[in-house]
Symmetry: D4
Subunit: 252 residues, 8 copies
């Protein structure tokens, strides 16, 4: 039911063409979702407070390009993730103002100025160099989602001193995203050192009994440090989205 329909219905009630009882009956029988949809839809972008994004994986280059073009045309900021080089380069060629990051496998197009909407910085911490792509996906996403981002790399638990050197930065953050593969122990150690929310991202690095990230995932779910939450393997985007929700000054 479009607003016009609602208007017609009410006009008919006012005009006496429809009794109040009939009006109630018809409104009650309204497929609620028709009214609801518009409402929710309208509220939705407000509520989430983030640009729409597109997951590049599992789509053809043409599909990705077409969706991004539509988003770009609306003047929104755009984020596409998990893009192979050919998809990324295609987007970069079509949108010279955008940027393809081959390490993070993200494409970002900033059309509206990015303002820091967060209560503080989001730290993105990464255990090893092979975890960098996921960490960078998280960092790029968090930036585009209007957070200030601090990146800290190569601070695995087998070399504690490297981690401890970054404690001040960690303690300043509002949220810490910890990206780690193999045994996934880093979030526990960091969660024990700081009091801010820690979002753990297991990565699919490693081999053998790493089981493409399962070992890290289980390690993180069983973290002995209270207050660590976990997202899917390699899901840097999701971690950044959650960090954004946590970090927003005002609830959307």
């Amino acid at each position: 039911m479009h607003p016009n329909d609602l208007e017609a219905l009410l006009a008919a009630v006012r005009a006496g063409d429809l009794s109040v009882a009939e009006g109630v009956a018809r409104l009650r029988d309204l497929p609620f979702e028709d009214a609801g949809v518009a409402l929710i839809d309208h509220h939705r972008s407000l509520r989430q407070g983030v640009p729409e994004t597109i997951l590049g994986e599992g789509k053809t280059a043409e599909q990705v390009a077409s969706i991004v073009a539509r988003m770009a045309a609306r003047g929104h900021n755009v984020l596409a993730t998990r893009l192979s080089a050919d998809k990324g380069n295609l987007l970069a060629a079509q949108h010279p103002a955008g940027e393809y990051d081959p390490l993070a496998r993200t494409f970002t197009l900033v059309q509206k100025p990015l303002e820091d909407l967060g209560r503080g910085p989001v730290a993105v911490v990464c255990a090893g160099t092979s975890d960098l792509p996921v960490a960078r996906e998280a960092a790029n996403t968090a930036s585009l989602f209007q957070n200030r981002v601090v990146e800290i790399a190569d601070v695995g638990v087998a070399g504690l001193h490297r981690l401890l050197a970054h404690l001040p930065a960690l303690r300043e953050a509002t949220v810490i995203i910890v990206v780690a593969g193999m045994e996934g122990a880093l979030p526990s150690v960091i969660g024990g050192l700081v009091g801010v929310p820690v979002i753990a991202v297991p990565t699919s690095t490693g081999y053998g009994a790493a089981f493409a990230g399962v070992a890290a995932l289980l390690g993180m779910l069983n973290s002995c440090a209270g207050g660590v939450t976990v997202v899917n393997i390699d899901n840097g985007f999701g971690a950044a989205f959650a960090a954004t929700r946590i970090n927003r000054r005002t609830s959307p």
Copy 2:
């Protein structure tokens, strides 16, 4: 928003106390769910066309008894499943008109006469004697859900002759629920012999690499017979519910 509120709103529009535009605005801003909830709720029991049921497992005897008492008070037919003997006997004691089936672990209370609402009989077929509890749960559920039920037991694939002797009954059914543990091959064989819908229910019988029903579940999901669908391990209730939806003469 209750119907009364809707009435008041429309009366105000009719009375001119509220302009059409204002009425539209207020209706549009309605939390759709308030209207929607009533609507859905009302339609819901019609839609499903089945009595409400209660899963006895994971609830205390007191909780189960209290919920069943409330259901019974409304005059509905009642079904409770996965009831240990103590819970079942408690219910039977409290509701002399009801019946606890210790094999199926179900409690049924028929307060409204059961009429056959199906297009034909629902056959419940069972591979071995240890699959009987699940088969009986399915049969009891299907009966209470107002289907005619035919039970066929002990027709495992290692003794084809026993199965083949029941072909006529199988071919008459509108839906066949096949309950089997171990390798779960029975649905494939039956699915190859008949053309009606086959719902496969893996059971947790067996030991070792049966993995409490996982072997049967996987076997059924990989059935080489087209048109076999599967429900959760030991879920006789769910199979009967699905069979009911399939068998209903009129869509709810």
Copy 3:
């Protein structure tokens, strides 16, 4: 034993060359399967009421082409599924009247007119765009199996309003096939909104802990909505086959 043999045997009985007792003995010792085979075989296509199909995966292009050619020669309608582009294009080149759908990875050849044999439409619902190939496989199969098909795409649970907008179409269907990856929650939501049979198809989309469809499969098997049944991961064909069995006006 061929009919001729049966005839000879009976003729011998009639002629007195074989006593009744001897005839009984010989018939009883008949490898039942010889008689049985013919019988079943004959009934089989009637029973299933569907064209024979071929699973393209795991066969060479030559094997697929040879089997399809044989089927086509008999004048049947033909369906081949899970065909890579090279296999599909080969078939399309050899059978100009046929059609290869690269999204669904199906080849269909209609030689006999398709008549709607169903009690109502089969709805094929799909959560995300990456679930489209499986949904389309289901839709193409259901069409060729002589059902009327309604396709509804992109109605994931994280955007309920999109789903709710399609409620009327869902409620009109005789069967609903719900195709979803990731957490596989869509069948539960739909199963709670409608009363018709829901067949859930998990897809292998997603990454990490999606485990190539296992997460969706488990979600669907544990659906809290009664009456949802499940088929194998990515098995759009199987879902359509099951839907056909459910939807047929007359039991085959």
Copy 4:
């Protein structure tokens, strides 16, 4: 090295009994951890801003009682979780001011007044009645950790209307803890409706292919709603701890 030792060392340097170079050498060779420990330890309770807690599972009643007694003696607020009835009742008998909640299986002892330290309420949402124990553990923990808590029960995805009726409360919360078993779809639906952080807690309810919470866990990790994070199966405590970190007005 205690502060006193540091003092002696510096006094020796000042007095010339130890050269600067020797002082540097000795300080450098200091097991850093001795200094560090005190420092960290001191900061630790500040940092976390939460009372110490004890996991009752895997400890004898005597062990639990002894640890709780020590904590209580320091005047702290005390939380013990996953307590069987015998352990819980023992604690309640020993600490009349404390409370054992047999549903949540928690023991809480409030010795210091609880002040609301949060930016807003923490909502604890629960899909089914068998998820209540975990939800209540989360609620009790969040309360003791000085958050305002709103509990919403029995809002599973198969009955959307029940959930939608609670949208306003959900939208007011600063953090939402969603507790669900079976297919674990509730966090996705809620995450699509609101913009605040959602912490998903899978529960071990269900049977068969629920695999004691694994199905729900996987569903939640693969949530199609952005910004959902997950904790271990049945870990209501951990979810509340994470919610506390998120909700704190000031970083600890």
Copy 5:
């Protein structure tokens, strides 16, 4: 169709009451299974050449007792397996001529003399003392199935000398059943030393990553010794059945 029916049909043909063509038609339309069933059933016990057995697990003591009583009444030899002490003792009390073996958890009742029907002895080899129950189940089964049995215990691979001391006995056997838990390496070692068929039975002994027999099962399936076949975890009965099929002098 009972033999009587066949007789009537043939008599009608002979009498000319039924033409040969009609007789052929009726025979052809015979539900083959009715003829087949009798046939198969009759041949079945001959074919298998083994007494019927009953799996005690998953049945109540009463059910087991009732089935065994029926079997015993026919004068057959009877074997019941996986019997808890209470079930076993009940059977022993009811059938004084029978024997309950609490280690093997089997009940055997010999009513017909056991004759050695094998081509040679069946060796049952067992790695550790905790594998004894399964080995004994295999041995008891093989004996009742009319094989000569040689038992060799406690010959694990970590003490090769104990195994090598039994080489002559192993080489004399027609079949070797190897029962082992933990890493399940014994069948590989034995399979490398002898040329006769080796049936490997993984046991659920061990703990942790033994995963209730899965480690042993996988080890045995991956045996580097050619010609090792495997049965289900703890399935001593199945191994003995297979050994019987292999060892029979004449094919049943």
Copy 6:
């Protein structure tokens, strides 16, 4: 210790150059394995009674060629399995008398005449066309291992009539190798129809919840037909080796 050494030792004892006690000591200290090795080694080929074979997978074409060349030079019959086309063609080019079977992925070189050493034929039965490669590997192996082989293809459980038509051939076999993927139900059905040993070979065909043969493997391990044993997924070679051991007229 070579025989010569033994001779020298004994000669020294006889000559009095070595006392009996010294001789005992030296013999006792003998690394037993040196004596043992020769003994075992010598007996080994006799014992196994089969040509040596080479697993082509995981080796380079050069490695395979070099090993096969060495085997061929000794005049033995040679079998190489799991050979990709390039490896197989290389071998075929180097050994014109040999044969590469691209379906089975085997290379066979017969240099000594093959004599039927079995007690009867080995039947190799296969459920679907995609199981053919494994079945053919089994058949080729069994032939080279000097068994008479009967191949029966395309007799899946969803079309029982096709299987039943082959019952006579099945009943004549000494051993039946059953190759099947998907739900792996065929061995149960065959094991229920015949009394000879059945060796089940799961194949990695199928998709989704077939888990590359795990579903079939579990189905076979849980076969409800007594006396079915199982080998590794796709291990046609191992099944044929086991069948050979079973079928040999004389124990090696």
Copy 7:
């Protein structure tokens, strides 16, 4: 063949009753294992350098008592592990000189004085109090196996300061056994801090996605610290045995 037999054989050779060639032949035909067995057996206890032990789990109290009695009678030191209280108390009652440790679930009987045979102390480190039983099993075993043992408890990675305070003791050890459940991160941290061998023991503590020690096991297998090796879940005994082999001053 016992030494006596060897002696008789050599004596016969010397006496000329047996020719050298006959002697060689008889020695060569010796089932090598008979000679070998004695030899190995004799060397075995020397080689392992440890008392025999008995795994209490999976044996009845009577079986355990009988085996321990036999061991004790030989004057050996005795270790029994994984003993429930009833088994342990029975042993303690029968052997007043022995000791049952209910925490470690071990029984130890020292009959020969324990001498430190190690190159240095074995440190047994333990993450949480629920890991204590396994740590204590390791410590008791290592002590009885004649190592000096240092126990360090409650040093989980979420409170690094507690661990760092023990660095000197860790650095003095020759081997470190690290016992941890949950995410199993402790061995990585310790392996990064010290240069000595680290043996990681996952424990089955925790719940949910801890999967009874699997999470910890995987974490440890994927340790990012070089030189960490792992034993089975809860296998304190095995870790101590391995530590003993490493720590021995002289190779056995």
Copy 8:
């Protein structure tokens, strides 16, 4: 805080510019990690006593080359592992003094003479030829880590005689690394024959139920031979690192 800073602080104390109390306060407030880092870092290479190494997998050829160049420039010995041919050849081209081993997939560059630092030889034993790459990785690593290495190949448990022939070499080793795929039984057999530490390395060779090394991993974790420890699948490097720690004459 650098040593210079410490010096300045102490100088200020000595000069009276800073009171002792102030000095204590500042030292106490020192971010311990700053002091600690330097300290640990300095001690680290001493402690581990091994060259730094680089895991080639998961890095681009450029990244690997750049890291190796930096290491080489410092004059260290360099080890890179898990290098594909293109990465290995690039390194070999850039560092003519280095060597790429295509079987082991390692690159080694020796710039400082290798001295045997071990208590004895490290034996690297390997079950089959397809396990050679992992064995060679272990051997190359152990050599570069300054151990004497003995390699023993092709001694699987199905041919015990080949293994037994190498017993003397095994008994001389200080540590034995056992590399095996398939059922992973070799470490158990060797662990039963010798008394030295055995490090088991499962390999991902095999197919089907080998599950890419999981079967071997589980077999090794459940070894019935005491004192076997395990590393990750295919982790030859880790095994060699652990062996180095065990074999070092002096603790680092």
